[in-house]
Amino acid sequence: MKRVTIFKKLIVATALLFTGFAAAAQVSFSVDAPRVVGLDESFRIVFIANAEPSSFDPPTMQGFDILAGPTSSRMSSTQIINGKKSESFEVSYTYIVQPKSLGKFSVSSATAVINGKRYSTQPVTIEVVKGEGSSGGKSSSSQPAAGNVSSSDIFMRMSVSKGHVVKGEPLVATLKLYTKMPIAGFEGVKFPSFNGFWSQEIETPQNIEFVRENVGGVIYNAALLRRYMLMPQQTGTISIDPSEMICQVQVKAAQSSSGRSVFDDFFSDYQTVKKRISAPGIRVVVDPLPAGAPASFAGGVGEYRMEAKFSRDSVNANEAVSLIITITGSGNINLIESPKVDFPVDFEKYDVKISDKSNKSGSGASGSKVFEYPLIPRGAGVFSIPSVDFSYYDIQKKKYITLSSGELKLKVGRDAGGGGAVYGSSLPAGVNKQAVRSLSDDVRYIKIGASGLRKGNSMMFGSLVYIIALALIIAFYFVALRILSKRIEMNRDVAGVKNRKANKVAKARLKAAEGLMKQSLNTAFYEELHRALLGYASDKLTLALSDLSREKIRESLSAKKVNEELTNEFISLIDACEYARYAPDGGGVEMHSNYERAIKLISGLEV
C-alpha cells in the first residue's frame, strides 16, 4: 500500500510538471474480456482506465460466479528517450469469474468517474461453450503428442462477406488462422492472387493478435492474417485460390520413459513442429449487370450521391476555376471514373485531379471521391455547362440509377488583367493564338432558297436558246459586215465618181484649150482658157457671162463655201490668162503649167 502512495505522489508530481501534457491525454476506460469461454473455465474480466478514477461502479455479471475481485492494480511508467519524456498510467480492476451454465451472457457496462466525468465501458457478451479453454493451462491432457498435430488443432480459413454478387460489387475476403496450440512462427506464406478480381489489402496486421472464437462449439484462438477488398471484374463463377503456409507449432515433447521430474514440468520442454496448413479455395458467383445501362454508366456499383459545383461562381477570363464533383456513397467507390463533362470549347481544360477519401472496412468501401476539373475560361460571358450525369447500379434496388447535376452556370467576367478586352495584337499574357479546330464533321446544310426545279435536261449548251444565240451572233456578224462594207463602198465610190466627173468636166471644158496648147498657139490658148474658165464659172455659179466680174466671182464662190485658196487660185488664173493674151510668148512650158493649174482648179471646185 505504501508503494501505491509513492506511485501516487510521483504521478501528482509529474502531473504538476506536465499539466499541459496530462490535460491533453485522452481519458479512456475500457473492458477486456474473452468472447468465448469454456464451461469449466475460470477467466478474467479486466476494466482498464488510464487515469485514476475517483469512484468505480462495478458491473452486474449474470450467469457468472465471481471467484475473486475486483482487485485493483496501478501501473505507471515514465520513459525518457533522447530527452523526450513520455509517461503512461494504468489502473485496472480485475475479476476472476467462472460461468454457471452454457449460453450467451452479457456483462453490463462498468462506470467510473475520472476527473469529475463519468465514463462507461461497452457491455460485453460472452459466449459459454462446452469446449475447453486452450489457454487454461490446466487441461494439459488434451495436448497432443509431438509430430501429431491434427488439422482440427490448427487450420486456416478464407471467408467472403458475400458469395453471390454482381459485377463490380465489392466484397470482403478474410483470411484467418485458427489454432488451439501455441505458434512460434510462420514461413512460406502464400496468399491467393485473386484472379478476376480487383483486389486491395485493407487490413494487414503487424502483430498477429489472437482472439478467442467459437468454431462449431470448440474454442479456438483466431487471428486475422489478411483482409482484402475484392471487386469482381469478370462474370461467372470465379474461384479464389487456396492459400498456404507452414506453421511452426509448439508441441509438448513426448514424455520420457525415465519419468517426470518437477523441473521437467516447470521447464516443460516444448518442441517446434512444422505443420503445413492451407485454406481451401472458395468460389464466388458473379452475375453480370443487367442490360440497358445508361450512357453515363461507367461501372459504378453501390449507392451514391453526387454533388457538382464550381469552386467559385464567377471568375474573370484567364483566371483559374475548377468544377468539383463529389461522389459520396458506398460500393466500388475507388473504381469510379471521372464523369464526362462537356465544357465550352474556349475553356482550357487540364487533367482531372482525383482525391479518394474512401475508407475500406469490413463491409466494403465507403466514403467520397472528389473529382476536380481545373479550367481556365479564355473568354467572357455566361457559360452553361450541360448537366453532368453519373450512373450507377444500385445493388439493393437492382436497377440503374442516374444522378444528374442539372445545368451548371458560370459567369466569366472580362479579363481583370487588362488588355484582354481587345483581342488581337495585345493578347493577355499566357494566351497563344491558336488555329480554329474542327471539332466534328457534318454535311453542309441543305439548299433552302430557289429550288430551280425543271423537267428533263435543262442544260444551256445545245439548247434552243443556245443555238438561237449562236445564230444571232452569226447573223449579227454578217449583217454588220454587209452594212459596213456597203457603206465604205459607197463612200469610196461617191468620191471617185465625183472626182472622175469633175475631171471630165474640166477636161471637156479645156478640150479646145488642150488642142491649142498642142499646136503651141499661145494667144489662142489663153483666150480659150480664159473663156473656158469664165464659162465654167457662169455655169457653176449660175451667173450671166456679162455679170462676171472678179468681185462677183469671189462673192459667189465664198457664198458657195469654196475655200479661199481655190478662190484665189481661180482669180489669179483668170488674171494670168488675161495677162498672157497680151503678153509675149511665154513658151510651151508655161502654157502647160497653166493648163494643169486649170484642170486642178476645176476638179477641185467640182469635188
Partner: protein
C-alpha cells in the same frame, strides 16, 4: 396520289403543247417559251409547296418526312441541283450512306463545280468501307478536268457565247479598222477569242454529254459480291460495300460488268447497284 395524278395530266398537256410548237417551228419560239413558262408556274404550285415543306421538315430534324417530300418531287419528274443535293443530305442524316453518295454524285454530274456537293460527297465517302486507290491519270488530263469542272456547263455556255460575240466584233474590227495596227490586234485577239470560245463550248458539251451518260453506278447493298462471270456460280472475285462507285461496261441478263477505279473488273447483279 391525287397530287401525282394531277401533275401527270399536266405533264401530258405539256408534251402535247411542245409537239405542236415544234411543228409550227422556230418562228413561234418566243411565244412557246412564254407559254411553257406560264404553264410551269401553274403546276409548280404543288411542287413548290412540297419543296418548302420538305425544307422545313429537314430544319426540324424530321428527316424521314423531308425525304418523302423530296422523293415526291423527284417522282413528279422534276430535277435540279438543289433537289438532288437536299435528298443526298437527307439520306446522309438518315445514315443511308450509299444513297447519299448516289445523290451527291448525281448533283456533281449535273454540275461538277458544285462545291457543297463535292464537300458532302467527300464526307459521305469517309463513311463507306471500301478504299480503292485510283489509277493515276495523265497530269494534263487532270488539269483539263480541273479547269473544266471549275464551272458549270451553263457557265461555259455563256462564256462561249460571249467569246463568239467577241470574235464577231473583232473580225469586223479586223476588216474595218482604220489603222493596220488595230487591224492586226483585232485579228490576233479575234483568233484567241475563237480558240477559247471553242474550248468553252467543248467543255460545255463535255459536261452535258457526261450528264447524259449512264456509265457509272453506286453499290447500294451493304455487301455485294463481284463474280468472274455473269451467273451466280461464278467465282467470287472481290466484295464491295455500300457506297462504292463502279464504272459500267456492259449488261447481260440482269448482270453488269463493272470496273473499279483501280482497273479491276467483274460481274455484279444489277439490283445491287444504282446508276448515277
Amino acid at each position: 396520289m391525287e397530287r401525282i395524278f394531277r401533275i401527270n395530266t399536266i405533264e401530258m398537256r405539256d408534251k402535247v403543247e411542245s409537239s405542236i410548237f415544234s411543228k409550227i417551228g422556230l418562228m413561234f419560239f418566243l411565244v412557246a417559251f412564254l407559254l411553257t413558262g406560264f404553264s410551269q408556274s401553274i403546276f409548280a404550285q404543288d411542287v413548290r409547296e412540297l419543296w418548302k415543306d420538305g425544307n422545313e421538315k429537314y430544319t426540324q430534324g424530321q428527316f424521314a418526312e423531308a425525304l418523302a417530300n423530296y422523293i415526291k418531287i423527284e417522282e413528279a419528274g422534276y430535277t435540279s441541283e438543289a433537289l438532288l443535293y437536299n435528298i443526298g443530305n437527307t439520306y446522309f442524316k438518315l445514315k443511308e450512306n450509299g444513297k447519299a453518295i448516289l445523290y451527291f454524285e448525281r448533283v456533281l454530274k449535273l454540275n461538277p463545280s458544285n462545291a457543297d456537293a463535292s464537300n458532302n460527297l467527300a464526307l459521305a465517302k469517309e463513311y463507306s468501307l471500301d478504299k480503292i486507290e485510283g489509277v493515276p491519270e495523265f497530269i494534263l488530263t487532270t488539269w483539263i478536268k480541273d479547269i473544266n469542272y471549275s464551272l458549270s456547263s451553263d457557265m461555259w455556255s455563256y462564256i462561249s457565247l460571249f467569246l463568239f460575240a467577241a470574235v464577231a466584233v473583232l473580225l469586223l474590227g479586223f476588216k474595218f479598222a482604220y489603222t493596220s495596227r488595230l487591224r492586226k490586234l483585232s485579228f490576233f485577239f479575234g483568233m484567241v477569242a475563237l480558240l477559247f470560245g471553242l474550248i468553252s463550248a467543248a467543255f460545255a458539251w463535255d459536261q452535258r454529254h457526261n450528264s447524259g451518260l449512264k456509265d457509272s453506278a453506286i453499290v447500294m447493298k451493304l455487301v455485294s459480291t463481284v463474280k468472274s462471270s455473269p451467273d451466280i456460280s461464278g467465282k467470287t472475285l472481290f466484295i464491295l460495300h455500300e457506297g462504292t462507285k463502279v464504272k459500267l461496261l456492259e449488261e447481260l441478263g440482269g448482270w453488269m460488268r463493272v470496273e473499279l477505279a483501280d482497273g479491276r473488273q467483274g460481274w455484279i447483279i444489277s439490283i445491287d447497284i444504282e446508276k448515277i
